[in-house]
């Protein structure tokens, strides 16, 4: 198993030094992605999932951000020790990233064909004509209708779904696409378009054996896409495991709460009230050394406030960070 890991994060700590104090955005995060699999990193705003993505890309804005410690191993090489120049050759080649709002990552004054062709010109040293022909090919691959015409469009002439397809085409144009990080790739899209994009991503991933790190807040998208799931809360990983284990046998009160909060959960088909998690996401500035979920957890005991729990294994790679994992009977 060990050598199958494409990317491995060990003990990652990221902080933001703001005027009001140090915000521990990610703490002691361990994570790995096998070749060809989809890992979903799921959590609500402020849980550190997007910061983790920026850390992998080494794009944490500094200042105020700072990667305090940890290793990010890509094929055994620590990305955090690379020079900026070495890192640039990895970004967009081995690791590519797509964002929630593709408009912000496409240059509005260039035609989309030129932007895709640019990738072929830099990474494959093709001439412009060849590269443009390749661009048409890529647009066809992501199922954009009439690609010969579309290459001449500017980003604003495309719909949100089409732009996201263009982003995916660019991400896949690199010579060695190994890992794609998708940060809320469908959150800004309509449901029917979201279904199309998710479908496309799954299909392409299968055909080129690429790993996918899917960052999302939507448990529905997770269920649809993921092989493995890591649940984050306020900078900490609280539960991780196989997608079936997480959905069918969740062991952390937060994961349970998250699933119960989904209006699409089967059990609300006819009944009214949701089983919501009470309270608000804690202020990261005021988090102590205990379990960050303690203030909202209905099963919390004094020990939860004092100490962040050690990992508990439930077999099949299902790990939980809760003092009472396995002891709690969820209603």
């Amino acid at each position: 198993m060990e050598n199958n890991r494409f990317l491995e994060i060990k003990g990652l700590n990221v902080s933001f030094y703001t005027q009001k104090g140090v915000v521990p955005a990610v703490r002691e995060l361990d994570l790995w992605i096998n070749k060809g699999e989809t890992l979903a990193l799921v959590g609500e705003s402020g849980c550190g999932k997007s910061v983790t993505a920026s850390a992998i890309m080494r794009l944490v804005p500094a200042p105020p951000g700072k990667i305090e410690s940890g290793e990010i191993l890509l094929d055994g090489k620590d990305l955090l020790r690379l020079t900026e120049k070495e890192m640039q050759s990895i970004r967009g080649d081995r690791i590519s990233m797509i964002f929630q709002e593709p408009m912000t990552s496409l240059n509005p004054v260039f035609r989309i064909g030129e932007q895709i062709a640019e990738v072929f010109i830099t990474h494959y040293s093709m001439d412009k004509k060849e590269a443009l022909a390749k661009a048409v090919e890529m647009l066809d691959m992501v199922k954009i209708p009439a690609p010969e015409k579309r290459v001449r469009d500017y980003p604003h002439q495309l719909s949100g779904g089409m732009r996201q397809r263009v982003m995916i085409a660019m991400a896949l144009s690199s010579p060695n696409p190994g890992l794609m990080i998708a940060d809320e790739p469908t959150t800004a899209l309509d449901v029917t378009i979201q279904a199309q994009i998710l479908d496309l991503m799954r299909e392409l991933q299968k055909s080129i054996q690429m790993s996918l790190l899917l960052i999302t807040h939507d448990m529905g998208v997770v269920a649809e896409m993921a092989n493995r799931v890591a649940v984050m809360y306020a900078g900490r990983k609280v539960e991780a495991g196989d997608v079936y284990d997480i959905f069918e046998n969740p062991m952390h009160p937060y994961t349970v709460g998250l699933l119960n909060s989904m209006p699409s959960n089967e059990k609300y088909r006819h009944a009214g009230r949701l089983e919501a998690i009470e309270g608000n996401v804690p202020n990261l500035l005021e988090i102590g050394s205990g379990c960050p979920f303690e203030s909202r957890c209905r099963y919390a005991k004094p020990v939860c406030r004092e100490k962040f729990p050690d990992v508990k294994e439930a077999g099949n790679g299902h790990s939980v960070w809760c003092h009472f994992a396995g002891d709690i009977k969820f209603i």
Binding site: H217, A223, F247, P263, A276
Partner: protein
């Protein structure tokens, strides 16, 4: 059941300047294009649809926040859509709106106590109530600490701000509330709290809601009846149970199919509807859904199907059923 609101052939069109340097003149964007429905006292009517379907414009036109182009909105026997701002003021108290964005819908420079008392002051309720007491009461009702009254909006989280928005809407003791994507900007766990709060308040005070959202699951949870919109028109209308039991319009089916299921074993082969949502400026001829519809027939490209009652209370606008 008693009707509280009756909408008759409501239209809201916008003039959009044509793009390009050489062209002049306007396109007509038919955001809401001939919509009729009733809202009954004490119910929740859900309106669901994707971007550009006109659901938000419809909500604002219902409250006369945007002037209609044509049609009628009858609230307790009076067509409020043709009232002047002055005449409308008497109805503003009774019809309120909860907005989508909890960050931009509260004035950032005002304290919570100001935000909650302003509506009562401008509506002359300050003689009727002790405003201080009323702020405490409103904060209690929406589950916020009374001590928060002297804080500013930026000191709250999204969920707390949405509670403030709800408290503000309640300050005037309305009967009819339009919730425009009231939970879609919130985190899942907080969204559930706010949905519960809205349902509790309805039970307690007997509000009538028009609940507008793009999230089918949310709408199906909270609503008694549901309207599905596509490009400015109603394509299906039914009670919740009826709609869950039999989704008739191909678009309703597509919307439901596209919605991600939270059961990972259901990664079944789904029928995913193709194509983009067309621009509402230039909708397809005939039935607006025909270019994406798996069941499109020649007739669909020519004529827009009328909204027909198929079963009691279940209306659908599709040639498959006509």
């Amino acid at each position: 059941m008693e009707k509280i609101l009756e909408v008759k052939n409501l239209k809201k069109h916008f003039e959009i300047k044509k793009e390009g340097m050489r062209s002049s003149g306007y396109h007509i964007l038919k955001a809401v294009d001939g919509v009729s429905f009733d809202v009954y006292k004490g119910e929740t009517l859900g309106i669901v649809g994707e971007s550009g379907c006109g659901k938000s414009t419809l909500g604002k036109t219902l409250l006369n926040l945007q002037r209609k182009t044509e049609g009628e909105v009858i609230f307790e026997g009076k067509d409020i859509s043709s009232l002047s701002d002055r005449e409308m003021k008497a109805y503003r108290r009774r019809m309120q709106m909860i907005f989508q964005d909890p960050f931009s819908s509260l004035n950032p420079r005002k304290k919570i106590s100001y935000l909650l008392t302003q509506p009562m002051r401008v509506n002359g309720l300050d003689k009727e109530f002790d405003l201080d007491e009323r702020v405490d009461m409103l904060l209690d009702v929406v589950g916020l600490d009374r001590r928060y009254r002297n804080r500013y909006p930026h000191q709250f989280s999204g969920g707390q701000r949405q509670r403030i928005g709800i408290a503000r809407a309640l300050s005037l003791r309305p009967e009819f509330i339009v919730c425009d994507e009231a939970v879609s900007a919130l985190d899942v766990s907080v969204q559930a709290q706010i949905l519960n709060l809205l349902m509790d308040l309805q039970q307690k005070y007997g509000f009538t809601y028009v609940f507008i959202a793009h999230d089918l699951a949310v709408v199906e949870l909270i609503s008694d009846r549901i309207i599905v919109m596509y490009l400015g028109r109603i394509v299906e209308e039914a009670s919740k149970a009826e709609l869950i039991g039999s989704r008739l319009h191909p678009y309703t089916k597509a919307l439901f199919e596209a919605f991600p299921d939270i059961n990972p074993r259901n990664k079944r082969e789904k029928k995913i509807v193709v194509g983009d949502v067309p621009s509402p400026i230039n909708p397809p001829q005939g039935c607006h859904f025909n270019p994406r519809c798996p069941n499109a027939m020649p007739r669909c490209r020519e004529e827009y199907p009328p909204l027909k009652e198929i079963a009691p209370g279940h209306k659908v606008s599709c040639w498959l059923y006509g």
